[in-house]
Amino acid sequence: MISMYLTGNSWLHRTPAGLKLLLVAVASLLLFQVTSPWVFLPCLTVVVGLYATLGREGLAQLKLLRGLTVFFGILLLLHWVSGTLLEGFAVILRLIVLVLAANLVSVTTRMDDMLEAVMPLFKPLEWFGYSARKPALGVALVLRFAPHMMQIFSRLREAYQSRSGSRNSWRLLPPLAIQCLRMSDNVADALRARGGSEGLSDR
């Protein structure tokens, strides 16, 4: 769901990270007050329009919804079973708008800007002597390594498929977990080799 940063210098790239995050936060608060599916359609148009301003690469980002179709299908099915189909559409439209908006921020914001923007949220930790840098770095690492974990999974799947013929199996989960843990060990070493999460500053 979290896509890679799109290289570029569009007006969305130049908008401050804090402002973008704030807008998404406010929009999600507002959208959760709304239940009519008719309100979401114009919202959707606006978000898709924003992607269009990034050009073809921006519109290609919309493909990320494909990965969520199963999830949306299940949601819709549940609502249909409980007799609230229209509400189901509203829920899904709201999710689509919010996911697209959040993704728009993550593809147009450099990670260190994002870090700078979320740091104040962790500032209160410093009153108690904890480092605000640590959780912020944690957020950064999640963003960096989520795509890499997907890559590990697809490599495992290829290895499995090449010898079994079938694509998916629950059997892939334990090796995935082990490989991810191993990767995180390596990443931890690499971080430590450059001074760890605390940094090396004497000041």
Binding site: R110, Y130, R144, V187, D189, A190, R192, G199
Partner: protein, 258 residues
């Protein structure tokens, strides 16, 4: 109190002497992981500009070089790095010893090249805007300014490894330790990275399976079963190592050596 964090970093005194020669002194050093003895009875000191480390898989090479940067601590014997005992020096070592890992995908922490380079500077206490500017200057200095805005995931393997090396060099270490940096590179990229390394003013300790990279080095250590099998100039050690490989591969399939 357990959950009250200790005050760190700020009142730490520097204990290493970056100009110390030898920069590493091993005396009877051993290290076990679980019940397995990975290294034992190592006694040697390093002062050369270029030191190569060779040996088969599992001979203890990676653990050996990790000790140089404080990533692993010996559990017996004494190890001095830049004149200070390794354990006490550990928090300060990343400042003096840069470490480049085998797999660039495990080393690059940030999504874009510029951020990755700037990270080393912010680690040293440089303010963010300043670090970004200096990262760009540094990339320009190394003729890599075109890479700056690119996502690391989209680089070629050679470019990735170059970025990893630069992200460590920007911290201006005295010693650069590389653990099989050429493994994932094609022949040309491997040659280019080799040339780059040769041009650096830093002292270098490098693990390599490609012996040709070590020909011009000052000293080569051949590790076997956690100890030194041979230690000397490349023209002595490399042929002996090659001969040993030929001898062992010629006889019969030794499962233990695979």
């Amino acid at each position: 109190m357990a959950f009250w964090p200790k005050k760190k970093n700020h009142d730490r005194n520097r204990i290493c002497d970056p100009a110390a020669i030898p920069y590493a002194e091993f005396h009877g050093v051993g290290l076990s992981i679980g019940s397995r003895k990975v290294l034992s009875g190592l006694t040697l000191s390093l002062k050369e500009d270029r030191v190569g480390v060779i040996g088969l898989n599992g001979s203890g090479k990676s653990t050996f070089v990790r000790m140089l940067n404080g990533l692993r601590q010996p559990d017996c014997g004494s190890l001095k790095l830049f004149g200070a005992l390794a354990e006490a020096a550990a928090p300060e070592l990343p400042r003096h010893v840069g470490f480049v890992f085998q797999n660039p995908d495990h080393q690059a922490i940030f999504p874009t090249v510029e951020e990755e380079i700037a990270f080393g500077l912010t680690q040293l206490g440089v303010a963010r805007d300043e670090s970004r500017k200096r990262a760009l200057d540094f990339l320009t200095q190394h003729n890599c300014e075109a890479l700056a805005p690119l996502p690391i995931a989209e680089l070629s393997e050679g470019q990735k490894q170059l970025v990893c090396i630069l992200s460590v060099l920007v911290m201006e270490p005295r010693l650069l330790v590389l653990d099989e940096p050429m493994t994932s590179l094609d022949a040309l990229a491997s040659r280019r990275i080799g040339d780059k390394l040769r041009s650096l003013p830093q002292k270098i300790v490098m693990v390599s399976h490609d012996l040709s990279h070590l020909e011009g080095f000052d000293r080569v250590l051949w590790l076997e079963d956690g100890g030194i099998r041979m230690d000397g100039a490349p023209f002595e050690v490399l042929p002996a190592f090659r001969a040993d490989i030929d001898r062992r591969s010629g006889v019969k399939l030794e499962l233990a050596a695979l």
